[in-house]
């Protein structure tokens, strides 16, 4: 059987598509960010969850925690909840609502988009939030989540 003269091109395209597919998860990855003055480099998954569910009000150094989130239907919020916190957005919402409407907690501050998130986290001491990787710059500190 004769080899098609276009097979090189086809292979090239196939490889490009594969590489592009492989790069997607990395592009889509969300990271935990905090105010540049946060005194830690990493948080345990449990601590991170407790902070985002508004049940841990202080950083290990004693400062008040300020939680920022994107709207429930924002794709970055959905991905961060599911992939990093391992919670569905509606589970987080359930905890916030239960606490808020029974007088045992406050709601996190909701910001409109990632630019507003970066600005709020950069300017608020004690802030914690999340951003997609390409949005992270040196105005905020990226924190690792320990398993």
């Amino acid at each position: 059987m004769r080899k098609s003269p276009h097979s090189g091109v086809v292979r090239g395209i196939a490889w490009s598509v594969l590489l592009w597919l492989a790069s997607l998860p990395a592009l889509a990855e969300q990271a935990l960010v905090a105010h540049a003055g946060a005194g830690v480099e990493q948080l345990s998954l449990n601590t991170t969850r407790l902070m985002f569910s508004m049940q841990l009000e202080r950083w290990p150094d004693g400062n008040a925690v300020r939680v920022f989130v994107l709207p429930d239907n924002h794709p970055v919020h959905r991905d961060f909840s599911k992939d990093r916190l391992k919670l569905y957005p509606r589970q987080l919402r359930r905890v916030w609502d239960r606490q808020l409407y029974s007088g045992t907690g406050q709601a996190p501050e909701t910001v409109a988009d990632e630019a507003a998130m970066r600005k709020a986290v950069a300017e608020t001491p004690g802030a914690i939030g999340y951003l997609s990787r390409e949005m992270i710059d040196d105005t905020v500190r990226e924190l690792q989540i320990d398993r």
């Binding site: 345990s44 449990n46 601590t47 407790l50 049940q55 841990l56 009000e57 202080r58 008040a64 925690v65 300020r66 709207p71 429930d72 239907n73 599911k82 391992k86 919670l87 569905y88 509606r90 589970q91 359930r94 905890v95 609502d97 239960r98 808020l100 409407y101 029974s102 007088g103 045992t104 907690g105 406050q106 709601a107 608020t124």
Partner: protein, 409 residues
């Protein structure tokens, strides 16, 4: 004839427009209030809910057999984190619900919550004030439509006819949580003075007599819960006990006496990405003492349970189905003995209720939600006696259609 039909239609249309107008007015005014900068530690939230109920027979939340808009919930919620350890929070609630509640504003809760210690392994604290009772999965936030699984909570456990009996109490609670590798345990234990109203009198004494039904002593309440680390499984056991004292007055056909009530709920829930299953089971032993022959023989254990499933068709669209059943006396589930005790004047179906519900929730935006539900009922056990004074004429098999719109900020 035609004219009277027209009048009725016009009246209903008028109520519909008034209801929609109310929701719209709130929707448009609320963002103005939000624009005020209250500072980082001070938060104001609120909600506005309007419902519509239409039943084939019987009355549920107003004149539902003609279609009723008499279901409105308005709440304003303020909280102030004075220090990371001290939270002050309160909520004002106006609730119109048929003949049962007229919408007069009440202090739903007013709590000072002091976190004594909190870290990633454990935490505990103390609450003082008017506290919502931690019963079942839904009691604490039962009037916030966004937190309910359906337009109405399953009535066989969360009775609207006697909601105040278990709603909240003025007192003190101790709470805590403890994390293990398998999940998080939490508890909430307290005691306080129960808030009663005439709806409780109607339900437990059968009428609103001249004398007053009052709470006697402190009512204890407790919940212990367990949740797996991924929050997929949740389990809870909760209970409360309360004693009510009735001082009879001239003209009352019953003597003065006491009603002892114990209320216990076992709850379980599984949440997956797109679906969830919830089940709760409740028993409530009721004891009468000192009232004389009319009531003292009516000691019984009320029972109720439901199984509910939900499935998210889209991220903003949820389908819900539920079966629930409740019995006025768990040893007499078909109501035959209870009915015989009234010499058949009250039919059997008044002493139980079994129903199927199918509903749809649409989250139009994260802060605006619409719901539509249909319910098929056998029995009238959860209906308010106040709304249906003549129990013998209630219709055994009845259906209910309801709509709800809710906005929050």
């Amino acid at each position: 004839m035609t004219q009277s039909v027209n009048c009725r239609l016009t009246a209903r249309l008028g109520r519909a427009v008034a209801g929609a107008g109310l929701v719209l007015a709130l929707c448009t005014r609320v963002p103005v209030a939000m624009a005020v900068d209250w500072g980082d530690d001070f938060q104001v939230h609120g909600f506005a809910t309007q419902g519509f109920v239409e039943t084939t027979d019987n009355r549920f939340f107003g004149d539902s057999d003609d279609g009723s808009f008499n279901f409105t919930e308005l709440g304003i919620n303020v909280s102030y984190r004075a220090t990371p350890s001290l939270l002050l929070a309160g909520q004002l609630l106006s609730r119109s619900a048929g003949d049962m509640y007229d919408g007069s504003p009440t202090v739903d809760f007013a709590v000072a919550d002091w976190t004594v210690s909190s870290d990633q392994e454990s935490g505990y604290g103390i609450k003082l004030g008017r506290i919502k009772n931690p019963l079942g999965f839904y009691n604490e936030t039962r009037d916030v439509a966004f937190t309910r699984p359906s337009i109405f909570l399953p009535q066989v456990i969360y009775f609207d006819a006697v909601r105040n009996l278990l709603l909240s109490s003025d007192g003190a609670h101790v709470y805590g949580r403890y994390s293990t590798d398998f999940g998080t345990w939490s508890f909430d234990v307290g005691a306080g003075i129960t808030r009663l109203d005439e709806n409780v009198e109607f339900t437990f004494l059968g009428n609103d007599f001249n004398g007053e039904l009052e709470p006697r002593g402190l009512s204890p309440v407790a919940r212990i819960a367990f949740e797996t680390p991924d929050a997929a499984w949740r389990f809870a056991l909760s209970g409360a006990s309360t004693t009510m004292k009735f001082d009879n007055e001239p003209g009352d056909p019953i003597g003065g006496g006491e009603v002892d009530i114990l209320y216990g709920v076992a709850s379980a829930q599984y949440t997956a990405e797109r679906w969830s299953l919830t089940a709760e089971y409740m028993q409530q032993p009721v004891e009468y003492d000192g009232f004389g022959p009319l009531l003292d023989g009516r000691d019984r254990t009320i029972e109720g349970y439901y199984l509910q499933g939900s499935y998210m068709l889209r991220n903003d669209l949820e389908l819900i189905a539920r079966y629930s059943a409740g019995f006025g006396d768990r040893t007499d589930r078909d109501g035959s003995e209870s009915s015989a005790a009234t010499f058949g004047t009250i039919p059997r179906h008044v002493f139980y209720q079994k129903d199927w519900m199918l509903g749809l929730r649409w989250d139009v935006t994260p802060s605006f939600m619409l719901r539509a539900e249909y319910q098929w009922n056998d029995g009238t056990g959860t209906l308010s006696r106040r709304e249906n004074p003549s129990l013998s004429t209630t219709v055994r098999n009845w259906e209910m259609f309801s709509l709800l719109g809710s906005y929050r900020f």
